[in-house]
Symmetry: C2
Subunit: 204 residues, 2 copies
């Protein structure tokens, strides 16, 4: 069968919902997915590596990239800038990979507006109480930053209705299985398959 | 988490696409799915059992059920009548099971019109040539019936665009995995999850 063109997958969700963990699980499970590494001005956390979790940029570098129109989307979030470099995304999609974007709701809305074929998924913690517990447990943020994150999560939840899918990360393995299923299912979408047929796949 | 209400899944596809095989595989894999047993006036094939593959009815019995408004949909197909008894479907959905309907395109269109929340999947053989090979190999139909089935398949393909998903049954295990993924993904659909939240699920 002809190679399906890749799917652009948007994953949003509050900090502490477990996005990094499920993304690792998902990319380990599927060989057809590429994680889009974002650029950010926030400080690296212990163990994070430039070019792996993020491209860590100074504000000057970040604004220079905006000037070069080098982002698919960019936004400021809890005092830091985040952006998605466009070139690697387009290259991977053209090569037939599914590309996963980990972006917050403002950036996600920008991508959805430009790419209505993108598949949007919101990853929730089981509750905001559980989110607060996880942020305390992670221990990387002072209390006032944790409270800012909880407030930001409440804000983000007001955009839930814009997402095609909602995955509740109660158990990480289950969440990974659901994300995996969503991508498999989206590759079976009638409009995508029919497009492939009209582009030469011989089913009929 | 609150039990999701079941999803109504429509599976169509030409005779010989392998629907029975993938349905067996899917129901073995998922405990949350119930197969809706259709009523038909066609003769049982060797190994088929009344009440398992179909409820085998005479034409008189079938038309009496139509008179009692006992079908979700019914249609005539290659000389035989097929219908979906409504009562067991509604009971299983209310109990939280996903209900799988194996119905041809006319019946599927009737169900889609009445139940826009139904998830529709078309199961294709890899090609019509392969379909013909499979029908010969099955050896249950005389040549003219096989040609009628191929002609019917061509007709059915004209309705492909009405289906949300298209699964190509090249390899049965892959097809079962894709059907399984579609159901898992549909249970994560934003509109279903938000409905659950508004009905009392406590995420926020």
């Amino acid at each position: 069968m002809k190679q399906n063109k890749g799917i652009l997958v948007i994953l949003s969700g509050p900090s502490g919902a477990g996005k990094s963990t499920v993304i690792s699980g998902l990319t380990a499970k599927r060989g057809d997915i590429r994680f889009s590494v974002s650029a950010t001005t926030r400080e690296p956390r212990p163990g994070e590596k430039d070019g792996r979790e993020y491209f860590f940029k100074t504000r000057e570098e970040f604004f220079a990239m905006i000037g070069q129109d080098a982002f698919l989307e960019h936004a400021e979030y809890v005092g830091n800038c985040y952006g998605t470099p466009a070139a690697p995304v387009e290259e991977n999609l053209a090569a037939g990979y599914n590309v996963l974007l980990d972006i917050e709701v403002q950036g996600a809305a920008q991508v959805m507006a430009h790419r209505p074929d993108a598949v949007s998924i919101f990853l929730c913690p089981p509750s905001l109480e559980e989110l607060e517990n996880r942020l305390h447990k992670r221990g990387t943020d002072p209390e006032e930053r944790i409270q800012a994150r909880i407030a930001a999560a409440r804000e983000e939840y007001s955009q839930l209705h814009n997402y095609a899918y909602i995955v509740v990360n109660d158990d990480a393995d289950t969440a990974v299985r659901e994300l995996d299923a969503i991508i498999t299912a989206e590759l079976c979408r009638g409009e995508r398959r029919l497009k492939n047929i009209f582009e030469g796949e011989n089913l009929l």
